[in-house]
Assembly symmetry: C2
Homo-oligomer: 329 residues x 2
């Protein structure tokens, strides 16, 4: 929890809502509780996996920064994390991932079957809670977001011609699979605030989410396994085409392209081949272009905050941008 | 679509709402439509799979029988079928099933990954539509039902000591995995009707659903593959303990029990072993006991309809009971 980054730690970002985040964890525990033995085992594991609570943090900070006094914010924050967990559980199952944040995934620890049903269980619990809160707008935003996430996942699966996958398809994908939920978290935090604040925060979350995902995709190229909890170059191993490669491909000479093609055609690319493609992407400036794009989005996100009155929460939202693009894991 | 049963065909049951059911299919098509290429392929397949529209039929008949004039009934009926399809897609994926109603399953035809995400997509589309209808009660009922279905599935997966699985656990399971959605369909059809009608129809659906599932479980023992579209004795092959076996086990002598144990311990039981257990269950009266239980539930379901004023729709609901317990596939 103490990820040291260049300037801003996650702890700094979370300071204005530290007390609320403790209640969010209690809420999360209440929401996941179930009356069947295996569920409590699975749930204990999920609570350990919950990690950074980045989405609840954004929701609570948005709520404060927009001057909202909605007492349901803690529950909504827990619901957003629940939806995130449901998505992770299904994603890991779809990807056959064995590790998540250094811990075994539900599909690895229990079974593929349990992961599918557990994801359904968590998502339906989130909906039940939203219906109880009787917050139609929150439900509307989060149902739309969940649907967008599934469309994003589907698009990723159906991208067959890997090397033809371009920047606009990538943008659409990261918007759907990552940025939409961050945007939803910010927007739901500000539902009772003036519309100008609500819409600025929704846009802020979208831009922040895109910058966040691009940074993730760069880290996949640059960080050793010990830091991220997953093997370096994992996206390449799984034939996932992200911005660093897209940017590099536009500049690679024919022989470099052929090496990339060789990797995309190898069912299980060797460590050497992965390392070679990483070097090619780096040398062609792919990582640099991706980093610049993330910083550009970060600046746009920062501009969206200008409409909000100055506050510790607004400062923390600003800090969350730095955290998103400067983190090392 | 022309399943001939002893007295009542599904077509008879559907007669009072035949026009509405055509609109339900259009609604379903509208709800599933998506703007990514693979989705339309998958969805065409789902629409072929949709089969009997039994849940929409129950919703529309309940609505008419309760004197409700809710114009949203067609959309609600499509949403209920959508939730049912989402569940089927995930169930088939969890069970690694390759056939459903004689057609290949989504996981078999496309991939396991696509099945998981497609199920999520369908379910989130259903929620979006319920939010649009602004029908909080329908959302409340169907969110609860979906959650119950996941809990039921989870309970089934965690039942390790197969032979200790008793009748009350079985009842809880069939209530959760089948009857709750049938009950929800009937209740949602009558949401704007007087509470006495609404509650009677909710109970009717629950009893009907249990009778329906027990009949399914008996058919699994008795029907050849050509009729059901899946191999006979499939539940036994998959080590699923249902009422015929539970009832037989209570009466089987030690040597018969040992044969059942042998089947439960075999990763892939031989055709001969499956056939032998089917004979044992039949001889011990397991099928007869299960059939009697289904008929008893059917009678209770029928009694719930007495509170409703006489109508063609009420007669058709009565007919649906006969259809549920007398069908051959």
């Amino acid at each position: 929890m103490s990820q040291q980054v260049a300037g801003v730690t996650l702890r700094d970002v979370q300071r204005p809502v530290a007390a609320e985040l403790e209640q969010v964890v209690d809420e999360l525990r209440r929401l996941i509780a179930a009356h069947f033995p295996i569920a409590s085992e699975v749930n204990e594991h999920l609570l350990r996996m919950k990690g950074k609570l980045f989405r609840p943090t954004l929701l609570l900070l948005s709520s404060k920064a927009a001057g909202s006094t909605d007492t349901r914010a803690n529950t909504l924050a827990a619901v957003v994390e629940l939806i995130h967990l449901a998505t992770l559980v299904h994603d890991d199952s779809v990807d056959h991932s064995v590790l998540r944040r250094g811990l075994p995934t539900i599909n690895a620890l229990f079974s593929h079957q349990i992961a599918v049903i557990m994801g359904d269980y968590l998502y339906s619990r989130a909906i039940i809670e939203l219906v109880k809160l009787d917050d139609r707008e929150a439900l509307r935003v989060l149902a739309r977001v969940t649907n967008e996430m599934t469309v994003g996942e589907m698009r990723q699966l159906e991208a067959h011609d890997k090397l033809a996958y371009g920047e606009s398809a990538y943008d659409e994908l990261i918007r759907a699979k990552t940025a939409s939920l961050l945007s939803g978290a910010c927007e739901v935090g500000a539902l009772t605030a003036p519309p100008a604040f609500r819409h600025a925060l929704a846009r802020f979350g979208m831009l922040l989410g895109m910058a966040f995902q691009i940074t993730d995709d760069v880290l996949d190229y640059t960080q050793p396994e010990a830091v991220t909890g997953k093997p370096s170059g994992l996206d390449l191993r799984e034939h996932k085409v992200t911005l660093p490669l897209i940017a590099a491909l536009a500049r690679l000479p024919a022989d470099g392209r052929r090496v990339v093609e060789r990797l995309m055609n190898a069912a299980e690319p060797s460590d050497d081949l992965v390392a070679e493609v990483i070097r090619l992407v780096e040398a062609a400036g792919g990582l640099e272009t991706a980093r610049r794009r993330a910083l550009d989005l970060a600046q746009q996100a920062e501009a969206e905050l200008e409409v909000l009155p100055p506050s510790a929460a607004r400062d923390a939202l600003q800090g969350s941008i730095a955290y998103a693009v400067e983190r090392r894991s």
